[in-house]
Each structure stands twice: as C-alpha cells, then as structure tokens.
C-alpha cells in the first residue's frame, strides 16, 4: 500500500499550494512534509511511528491523524455492526422459514423479496428512506451526525436510516445464503436419523439442522461485516455521516497520502480482526475443528 501511494502521480505539495505556487515554495513544503526524503526512509519513519501509535499528521489539515481516525471509527463501527445486526435479525428467520417451506408459497415470497433486496442499490434505498421516512413523514433525521458527545439517543437516531439501508441489501443476500445452507443441511443423513428417532421435520431442523447450517452462514457474515467496515462509503455520503469511508474518499481527492495510508491500515486491521473472530466462532460451533 505504501509503495503504491508513493509511486502514484500527483505531488501533495503542489496540490496544497495550488497552480500559482513557485517551485521554491513547493520544495520547502516538500521538505516540511518530509516527502523529499527517499522512499525507504519515509517508509521506515512511517512504520516506526505506527508501531508507537503515532500515525503522523495530515499533509493537508495539519491535524493529528490518530484521533481523526478514532473519531471516524466511532461512526463507522456502530454503523457496520448495527447494519449487520439488523440484516442478521431479518435474514436468519426469513431464510430458515423459506427453507422449511421449500417450494411452497412462503419460500417463493421470501425468494422474490430477497431478489428485490439484492437488486436495489444501497444508495437508492438510502435516498428513498430519506425521502419518505425523514422528509415526508419526519420520523427520523435525514442526515448528518451530532456526535456521541452531544447526545447519545440523538446519535443513534441518526444512524437508524443508514443502518436500515445497509441492512436491506446485506440482509437480502444473507437470506439467500441462510436458505440454501438450511436446505443443504436438511438433506443430510443425520437429519434423517433425527427423524427416525421420532423428531418431526421441524424439530429435527431446530435441534440438529441449525447449528450445522450456521457454519457456512458464519463465513458469509464475516465477509459481509468486513465489507461493511471497509465500504460504507456510499451510505456515509448519502447520509452525510462523518465516517471512515467518507474521510478516505476525501483524503484521496486531496492527495493526503499519509491519511490514506493510515486509514487503509486501520481498515485492513479491522478486516483481519473480523476474520480472527470468525475463526474463533467456528471453533465454538464445530467440534471437528478443535484439536484434541
């Protein structure tokens, strides 16, 4: 990532000073920013700083980067988790319901709805929600974010519509995965054994099917959560939320290379963290993965 940004065309210094800048001024700024040094030196400096928790200062605004990112995470992380929570809360019952009504009306209805959900782009869902729920009916705020320090209930209110927009698409995708995982599991031999023991089809599903179906679903959940942590850019823009994604886009526009670099690092770390979490959950759910 560092190398890609370093060889990227577009000099931050001339960008900051504008087209009228004299070459002397640009050179001086480059020296101030530390980007006149050789690339390996810059790299070592950056790695050293990062390891001690000092992410440096933004080229453009001269602000400390670490607190900047922390502030943004306070919006993006709740947004991603809340969105995933809503998606899961809808998708798991819907998927299980559809699978247990395989090829019946209920199954078809869920399949059609989830197809619609997948087809709707998140930003459009966001715009629709804003138009109706916020502007026309005035139930929830349309956009912006007051900050947790201001008012916690109010902050939560501002996150509801963005979360719902995210949940709509993610939930629709997840529903399909849950449905197919449950259908797959219901064809397994141990479900037949469970029924031969005297469990009804429904009870066999609840007692023996769900935990087995959870294994592939957890994989998808992890991927989706990681994707949301990295990519709520569109929704943050629609709802004018001061999230990480929005900051990343702005930083790229302004050639604020150090900020881009650090933000990417944080996102990558978050994704690795989610993957680790998924692996740990696998271990809890599936005894076959536990080493003896």
């Amino acid at each position: 990532m560092f190398w890609v940004l370093a060889v990227l065309p577009g000099d931050p210094a001339s960008r900051i000073l504008g087209t009228q800048a004299t070459p002397e001024n640009v050179a001086r700024l480059r020296q101030d920013l530390g980007i006149d040094r050789s690339i390996p030196v810059q790299y070592l400096d950056w790695v050293g700083g990062t390891l001690t928790g000092d992410l440096g200062t933004s080229y453009v605004t001269q602000e400390e980067i670490a607190p900047l990112i922390t502030d943004r995470l306070k919006v993006t992380v709740p947004l991603a988790f809340f969105g995933m929570f809503l998606a899961t809360a809808v998708a798991i019952p819907a998927g299980v319901f559809a699978a247990s009504r395989h090829r019946e009306a209920g199954d078809t209805a869920v399949s059609v709805l989830s197809q619609v959900g997948i087809s709707i782009p998140a930003f459009w869902a966001g715009l629709l929600l804003t138009t109706y729920v916020a502007v026309k009916w005035g139930i929830l705020p349309a956009n912006g974010f007051p900050g947790w320090g201001e008012s916690i209930p109010n902050s939560i209110k501002h996150l509801i519509l963005p979360s719902v927009s995210l949940a709509l698409v993610q939930g629709a995708i997840l529903t399909r995965y849950v449905r197919s995982a449950v259908l797959q599991v219901m064809r397994e031999d141990y479900i037949r054994t469970a029924r031969a023991k005297g469990l009804t089809r429904q009870r066999a599903l609840w007692r023996h099917g769900l935990r087995n179906a959870a294994i592939p679903v957890i994989t998808i959940l992890g991927l989706q959560l990681a994707a949301l942590l990295a990519g709520t850019v569109v929704i943050e823009n629609v709802f004018v939320l001061p999230g990480l994604g929005r900051m990343l886009v702005q930083a790229i526009e302004r050639r604020d290379l150090l900020l881009v670099q650090s933000t990417t690092l944080i996102i990558t770390t978050a994704i690795l963290g989610v993957n680790l979490l998924v692996d740990l959950i696998y271990n809890l759910v599936d005894p076959r993965l536990r080493t003896r």
């Binding site: 054994t193 023991k197 005894p287």
Partner: protein, 341 residues
C-alpha cells in the same frame, strides 16, 4: 437353525406390507410388493443395488426423500404407516419402529455429543428427566459394547471409528421399545473384521428384546448367518421368499439361483476353483426393466410367456413363494395364492 424355535406368539405379524408401490415421479421403483414380518423373526431382504430395498425400508419408516411417494399399505399395530401424518408417525418412529442406517459416518450429527444424541431418543419417547435419560443412554452404550462408554458419552462422532459409530446408531435404534428394527446395509461401510461383530451384536440384541429385524443387504452370507426368513427382491418386486435355509438350498427363482451361484465358496483342500459364476447382463436402470417378468431379459429360461405378468405362487404350507413361470425344483404342490399386480 436354533433361532427357528424362538418365541412364536400368535399376535400376528409385526408388520404386514401389502401392494406397496414407491414411485419416483411417475416411474414405479417398487412395484407392488407384499410381505409379512412375523413377530420376533429376523427377515433378510436381499437384492442388487437398484432393486428397491432401501426405498421399501424408507417408505415403511415414512422417510422417503421429497418427490417420492408410497401407496399400498404397511400395517403395524393396526395402523397403516403409509397414511399416518408426521406427528402420528413420530410417536411410533424411534420407539416401536427403528432404523439402523448404512452410513455410520454421516448418520450422526457431527456437532452434538454422542451421549446427548442417544439421550435425546429417550427424552422424545419417555417421560424421563435429563439425568435419567443420561443414565439410560450410558446403559445402552454399554449394551452395544462401546468401549469406554462413560467417557465416550461426551465425545463427538468424529472422534469415533466407523464401527464405534455404528454401535452408537444401533444404540439409538434400541433406545425405545422396538417391535421392529430395520437395518439397511448396516455393515456395508465397515471393515470386514468389524462387520461380523456388528451383525452378531444386532442379532443378539434383537433376540434379547424379542424384536423383529428386517435386515437389508446384498450379502447372502450375512442373511444366511443372521436371518430365519429371506425375501429376494429384483426390479422392484419380491420374486422369491421363504425360510432362509430352504431358499438357499433349493432356490426356485432363476435369479435367486444365480445369486447363490455367484457367491464364491472357499473350501479347504481344493487346488483350483472354477470360474466365478455371474448373472449375465446388469441391472437395468429405473424404468428400463422389461414388461412382464422383470428378470426375463437376463434369464436363461425365459420364453414367450414371460412377457406376461408372472403370478406369485406359494407352496402348500405357505412358507415359500416364488414369482416365475419356470420355477426350478418344480413340484406339484404349488398353489396360486395371489396374482401380481
């Protein structure tokens, strides 16, 4: 056979199957079979793959896969199992009517402890507390000779060998009060050395509890050593039935005779063995059996009349039936009891 003289009560058969048809879509795979399983008897159901053995078992259990349907009747304790709804079936299944499956590797839930899986059956059918069910489960696992049963209660299926898992599956089948245990190729997936142990276990436990056993297999030696009666199935029909020893010594249907001839005999003191006998041709696919006698395209005795539906003929004391126009070892005592559909 010593087992022949075991308790014979006159309460009628534990299962009476009549005109059972199992259709895959609109193609019948089991074409109207009828048989009785007398109380306390061990009956073998033999035939090659694709003859409809497993479908017969699954339809009795009410466990046919989606898209398959069974008609006819399978009467157990005065109830037709084929017309019961899921809740009614669940009262019988696992308690009076149990099944041992072919694949012990996949028949158990991989994410549930062995002890819990066995205890579950007891909790479904008996008003037992958690602790009582656990005790009973442990007793059952000891009965099926699972080594270290007490500590294995907390094990997961993947920590057990195939033979051990099949013992657990048998424990599941014995947890209730089974009048009939259906075992569908219970040893096919196991090592040869383990097969005999499992079969003997199954036989002894069925005998102890006076449960009937329907043993499905393609292995004639297994039937010979375990079962008192045998049903021979081919192309979705039962083509011959009778006491095992009698049928094996004097097969009347050419197919049965072919099956028996195809078993390699290992006898001491013989330098060279004759070539293995085989039945010419192979089992046709579903829906590709000939009309009339299903075996006629592979049968050396087939004549024109075999294009018609063969009748099922019984001997005088009704212990044996055969469904063939040219039965071997023909005797004059054959009387027609039933016309095959």
């Amino acid at each position: 056979m010593t087992g022949d003289q075991e308790v014979e009560n006159n309460s009628g058969p534990v299962l009476r199957v009549q005109d059972l048809v199992v259709a895959v879509g609109s193609t019948p795979a089991v074409k109207g079979i009828s048989f009785d399983i007398p109380s306390g008897r061990r009956v073998g159901l033999i035939g090659e793959s694709g003859s409809g053995k497993t479908l017969t078992a699954l339809s009795i259990m009410g466990l046919l896969p989606d898209g398959l349907s069974a008609t006819g009747s399978a009467i157990h304790a005065g109830k037709n199992l084929l017309t019961l709804n899921e809740n009614e079936l669940c009262e019988i299944r696992g308690d009076y009517l149990t099944m041992v499956f072919q694949e012990p590797m996949t028949a158990l839930n991989p994410v549930m402890r062995i002890g819990d899986q066995v205890a579950e059956v007891i909790r479904i059918h008996r008003d037992a507390s958690r602790a009582e069910a656990k005790d009973r489960a442990l007793a059952l696992l000891k009965q099926v000779h699972l080594p270290n049963a007490a500590s294995r209660m907390r094990a997961y299926p993947h920590q057990l060998s195939g033979g051990q898992r099949q013992r657990v599956v048998i424990a599941l089948a014995l947890a209730g009060d089974p009048a009939l245990i259906i075992a569908d190729e219970p040893t096919t997936a196991l090592d040869v050395t383990v097969q005999a142990q499992i079969l003997v276990l199954l036989r002894d436990l069925a005998r102890q509890r006076n449960s009937s056993l329907l043993l499905i297999t393609h292995d004639l030696a297994v039937v010979a050593s375990i079962c008192q009666d045998v049903l021979v199935m081919y192309g979705g029909r039962i083509i011959e039935s009778g006491p095992t020893r009698d049928v094996f010594d004097h097969p009347r249907h050419p197919y049965t005779a072919g099956l028996i001839a195809a078993v390699p005999e290992i006898e001491a003191g013989q330098e060279r063995r004759p070539r293995l006998a085989t039945i010419p041709g192979s089992v046709p696919g579903l829906g590709q059996f000939p009309s009339g006698c299903v075996f006629r395209n592979r049968c050396q005795y087939a004549t024109e009349i075999c294009g018609e539906e063969p009748q099922t003929v019984a001997n005088q004391d009704r212990t044996r039936t055969v469904s063939c126009f040219h039965p071997l070892h023909d005797s004059a005592e054959g009387t027609i009891i039933e016309v095959g559909s």
